[in-house]
Symmetry: C2
Subunit: 226 residues, 2 copies
């Protein structure tokens, strides 16, 4: 059997990145990375760990310095997570430069691991309006990455894959179910409790719940009882 090429997969532990890991596993030997950035939803990291185990992926948790991922409702308990539905504009859950910091680390790991492929679960259809989830951003990062590294200079093309970019949440779920993803393991909620139970009312919960409805399948999410 031929040896699979290695890929670096950004794995948050949510629905989207779990689907990306399932997609990537068909082609690549996966090295999953997650970030501990003092996010409210630490249950995410436990979910990521379980998912990596399901796919026999190596799993690396990278700790970011306190106070870098700041100025967001997801990292600052003084800013409330909105619960009344998506509004116009970029929401307070936006974390400044988050995907750039994540992808920069992935690029460093990729080069050290001699991998030419990074996968990220960004989506520009059913999403919260974050600028660093748009196709033009992903393309610009890829272009920069190919100028940044020794591997790039030596002619190894680095690819940033965003397989969910143009899919609806329902399509993502349908795709994942076909690949056997166990969505009960995933945590999408911005303020999940320590057991990974979802609030049901934040933007991420709303997008996720609507996705299961639109896909016409049962929602396996464990919700907090209120």
């Amino acid at each position: 059997m031929a040896h699979s090429p290695k890929a670096i997969v950004l794995l948050s532990g949510g629905l989207d990145s779990a689907t990306v890991l399932a997609i990537a596993s068909a082609t690549f030997e996966c090295h999953a990375i997650s970030f501990d950035y003092h996010q409210r939803h630490v249950a995410e990291l436990n979910a990521a760990k379980q998912l990596a185990r399901c796919y026999q992926a190596r799993h690396q948790v990278i700790k970011l310095d306190d106070g870098v991922m700041a100025g967001s409702a997801l990292t600052d308990s003084r800013i409330a997570v909105p619960q009344s539905g998506l509004e116009q504009g970029i929401p307070v859950t936006y974390v400044p430069a988050r995907n750039t910091v994540f992808l920069a680390h992935a690029l460093a790991v990729a080069e050290v691991q001699a991998s030419n492929d990074i996968l990220i679960g960004v989506n520009a259809v059913d999403y919260s309006g974050y600028p660093d989830c748009r196709p033009e951003y992903i393309n610009a990062f890829e272009r920069m990455a190919n100028l940044a590294t020794k591997a790039g200079v030596e002619g190894q093309r680095l690819n940033i894959h965003a397989p969910l970019l143009h899919m609806s949440k329902a399509d993502i779920i349908a795709n994942g179910l076909e690949l056997g993803v166990d969505y009960s393991l995933t945590v999408s909620c911005y303020q999940a409790d320590l057991q990974g139970r979802a609030c049901g009312v934040c933007d991420s919960c709303r997008l996720r719940r609507a996705g299961f409805e639109a896909a016409g399948v049962g929602d396996p999410t464990r919700y907090q009882t209120r």
Copy 2:
């Protein structure tokens, strides 16, 4: 007196970044950031601290996770720092994706601090041949950064300034001396001792020493006695 705009300055503690801080201080209120990435030359960080104090800049040391900045002679004691002079190609002191990880953090800090300006001391003349010091790389990072952030979407242009990019080491030194930079405080050596004394034979020491010679000024570097 008008309030100066705020800039984020990448400050390693070496000759180049000290000069950049001096240049930036003329125009901006500076927020200097340094990285603790388990580099061999920890004396750099002490130098950065002293330099920030000289320029009344706020100084933030950002700790990177163990093992991310890997695969380099600067972070792995099993790889020897070359001592016999610059050779063709990218040397073993290259740290994978280092400037991308540094600039990504600077971008996050800039957005949180509402700053539109990041300064970095890269140089593409008297340098070690690192790919992430080239003008095309800096331009590509700037382009990506303007697509990445909420500030960018809202029309705040983010500028990556690399004022030393096309200067020789001698020009950098002449410029810095005019601005009053005390180069005896700076540490450029890849394997400085804990007191910040330089080895005199690594690539960085060679470039620095040649710079003082070409500038026709005394070299204030403290060297290790051998």
